[in-house]
């Protein structure tokens, strides 16, 4: 028997146990995570920084721009100031005001930019860019001014020479004249040599100066004397003949009557220029002669006007009336007034009696032998009379006469004789007022102001002069008061030596209108009431009530339209009469 034998068939594995771990950690995600975590804070800081930087840049830029703008303005201001400066020598030279000013502006405005170096660099660059054209423009202006000053200095030199040579009585020989001219010519030649002066434009300076001086000299010597001017013409003729050899200098006639400088000057300038100047002088002298004649005529006329006033005063003054020296000053001529001052002093408010004033005025007129025999006789009669006609007491003057005379005075037809004829019916103040009005009637400004017052108060001088009852009493009263006040003020101011100006006259007239307007309307209303009350009594059914006063024509028309045909026929004439009466008061501020 074969015993079973177990034989192992399992072999130990030759493979080594365990496996290598190949997993590896990648550092990148962790690095990224750490970096990203940190980048949040970094980004935050960066954003904050960027924002702050942006704002900072904005502020810096704004400050820089403002500074540049201000700098431009300041530079233009500086330029403008220096342009107007007369100290042209110290702008770019000497004190160098321009550079000093520019540095001042630069430093002041640069400080406003802040500390940012780039902004400062930008400002510096912009400032220089701005400054350059301003500087050149200013330099141009300054150069022009210097040039003008230079020309002005030369011109002043010329003018001085012209002024010196223009004196007809200048004591200067021909040689001295030549030397003086040479000095002037030398100054101009030097200016030409230094440049900047055009010799073509300058021309012959010395000749020009002589001609200019001659144009002053000859009229100054003979411009207002026709005979001297003709004498110069004759002298010039002789000079011509001497120069042409037709006449010897020692044979010249009448030369000794002319100042030597005049003769020298006439000889020094070209003959045609001298002729022209002398001819112009003859024309001037002729014009002067005519003007003098005309002036004398006007003076005569003025004197005549004053004498008429004086005459009127002599025959119209009351012996006991008080007259101020100021009033006399407006009438008397200078010689007579001088005597008045010597006697009564120079205070124009000093008053003298009418009799004294009459004597002074009479003496003045007699001295001038102005009055006609009739006027002279009349004045002597007035002066020899011991008594005056007695004026009415103040406030008791005849209103109708006064209004009539005032109307005439307003028209300009009232004479002193006419006034004196009515003297007995007037009070002294009425008489004085009318006399003053006659005296001031020639003044155009017062007449214009009077016309304004007339229009406002519906005053008609013609109606007043004719004593026409159609002229409303209110108009008369208001005009006489306002115009009287104006005349008195005008007369008094002139007597005080402070005559009213045209503006003052107008203002015063307006003031018076304002003052008397209320009274005028009240008075007008009263007149209207008086006039219409009696008229309305004849018209049955219509009253002078508030409705009627507000619109009288409409009320009257309505009333008339409401009547029957028969009634209308009966009352027609009364209706039209009332209507005409109402129309008289229309457009006067009543309704």
């Amino acid at each position: 028997m074969q015993i079973p034998i177990y034989t192992t068939r399992v072999l130990a594995t030759s493979e080594a146990p365990g496996a290598r771990i190949t997993a590896r950690m990648n550092a990148q995600p962790f690095v990224q995570a750490a970096m990203q975590t940190g980048s949040v804070a970094t980004e935050l800081a960066n954003q904050v920084g960027e924002y702050a930087n942006m704002r900072y840049k904005m502020i810096v830029e704004t400050q820089k721009n403002e500074a540049i703008f201000s700098a431009k303005e300041a530079l233009m201001g500086l330029s403008s100031t220096l342009e107007q400066s007369t100290d042209v020598a110290n702008i770019f030279d000497g004190e160098n005001k321009y550079d000093e000013g520019v540095n001042g502006v630069f430093n002041e405005l640069r400080a406003r930019v802040g500390k940012n170096k780039y902004a400062l660099q930008d400002f510096d660059s912009s400032f220089r860019q701005m400054e350059i054209p301003i500087k050149f423009r200013l330099r141009e202006v300054v150069d022009l001014k210097i040039e003008k000053r230079r020309q002005a200095a030369l011109l002043a030199l010329e003018n001085q020479q012209v002024s010196t040579l223009s004196d007809p009585n200048l004591d200067m020989t021909r040689d001295e004249l030549a030397m003086s001219q040479a000095g002037l010519q030398n100054a101009h030649d030097q200016a030409v040599a230094n440049g900047g002066v055009n010799p073509e434009i300058m021309g012959n300076v010395s000749q020009k100066v002589l001609i200019r001086a001659l144009k002053n000299l000859i009229p100054a010597y003979a411009g207002d004397d026709l005979s001297l001017a003709f004498g110069l013409s004759s002298l010039l003729d002789q000079i011509d003949r001497v120069e042409s050899g037709d006449l010897r200098p020692q044979d010249m006639v009448g030369i000794e009557h002319f100042p030597s400088h005049v003769v020298n000057m006439l000889q020094a300038v070209p003959a045609e220029e001298a002729k022209k100047v002398v001819q112009d002088t003859i024309k001037m002298a002729a014009t002067f002669f005519n003007a003098a004649e005309k002036l004398e005529g006007e003076r005569e006329e003025e004197r005549n006007k004053s004498n008429v006033k004086a005459y009127n005063f002599v025959i119209s003054l009351d012996k006991d009336e008080k007259v101020t020296l100021g009033t006399l000053k407006n009438i008397l001529d200078y010689d007579d007034m001088k005597r008045v001052y010597e006697t009564f002093g120079s205070d124009l408010s000093t008053e003298v009696f009418g009799s004294t004033a009459q004597r002074i005025l009479f003496d003045g007129l007699t001295r001038q032998m102005w009055a006609s025999p009739e006027q002279q006789a009349k004045m002597e009669k007035v002066l020899s009379s011991d008594t005056d006609l007695v004026f009415r007491d103040p406030g008791n003057g005849d209103g109708a006469t006064y209004s009539m005379l005032n109307g005439m005075a307003t028209q300009g037809t009232l004479t002193v004789d006419e006034l004196n004829l009515n003297k007995a019916k007037l009070s002294l103040d009425q008489h004085t007022g009318l006399r003053n009005k006659i005296a001031t009637s020639g003044n155009a400004f017062v007449t214009r102001a009077t016309n304004i017052i007339k229009r406002r108060f519906n005053y008609d001088a013609q109606q007043a002069a004719n004593n026409d009852s159609n002229l409303a009493a209110a108009s008369k009263a208001a005009f006489e008061a306002a115009d009287g006040a104006l005349q008195e003020e005008f007369f008094n101011r002139r007597a005080e030596g402070k005559p009213m100006t045209s503006k003052e006259i107008l203002a015063y007239a307006k003031e018076q209108i304002k003052e008397y307007e209320g009274i005028y309307l009240e008075q007008l209303k009263e007149n209207f009431s008086e006039d219409l009350t009696s008229k309305l009594r004849a018209l049955d059914g219509i009253d002078f009530n508030a409705e009627f006063q507000a619109d009288p024509l409409a009320v009257l028309d309505r009333w008339y339209d409401g009547l029957t045909a028969t009634q209308q026929s009966d009352l027609e004439s009364k209706y039209f009469s009332a209507k005409a009466n109402i129309r008289k008061y229309a457009n006067k501020g009543l309704f």
Partner: protein, 173 residues
């Protein structure tokens, strides 16, 4: 004005500091990762050592088993020769046995040789793993150093920017 200047300056430096801090954190992370990977690789060295032990033990056991089996095979040969009435003390059977023994020893020598080769391979792999771990650490360190340098660069850059800004803004006079 001064507020925005200071804010810009402060924010620029703060940005740099923040970047530096982030780079430092990233460097630490890189270093940690390098260390971690090195530890993983170093585990392979231990593993190979254990594999070597097992392979060696296995080779010893195998040799024992093979010797036992060889001895058993030689005994069987003797028995069979003896059973056939062949004297096994001289002549061919002994030669066969001797030849078997030489063959067997040759096999054992081959097996030893193979085992030595395997051990050598394990040695190489262990060295490789050690070097890999070292490399991993070095890489982590290098990455960390790079990141730290990057952070430092950012910080320096921000300080530079702040300095330029401060100079431009005229903060230093």
């Amino acid at each position: 004005m001064a507020l925005f200047e200071m804010l810009t300056l402060g924010a620029t430096i703060a940005g740099g500091l923040s970047a530096k801090s982030a780079a430092n954190d990233a460097a630490a992370a890189a270093q940690r990762v390098g260390e971690f990977n090195a530890e993983l690789i170093e585990r392979d060295v231990g593993l190979l050592e254990r594999q070597r032990e097992i392979i060696n033990r296995n080779a010893v056991t195998q040799e024992r088993v093979e010797r036992f089996r060889f001895a058993e095979s030689q005994g069987s040969v003797v028995n069979q020769y003896s059973g056939a009435g062949i004297d096994v003390s001289v002549g061919t059977p002994l030669s066969v046995l001797r030849q078997n023994a030489r063959e067997f020893e040759f096999d054992q020598a081959n097996i030893d040789f193979n085992n030595q080769v395997t051990n050598q391979q394990i040695n190489d792999q262990q060295e490789n793993a050690r070097l890999s771990a070292e490399l991993s650490r070095m890489e982590g360190g290098a990455t960390a150093a790079g990141l730290r340098a990057q952070g430092t660069t950012s910080l320096l850059s921000s300080v530079g920017s702040a300095a330029r800004f401060g100079y431009g803004a005229g903060m230093f006079g």
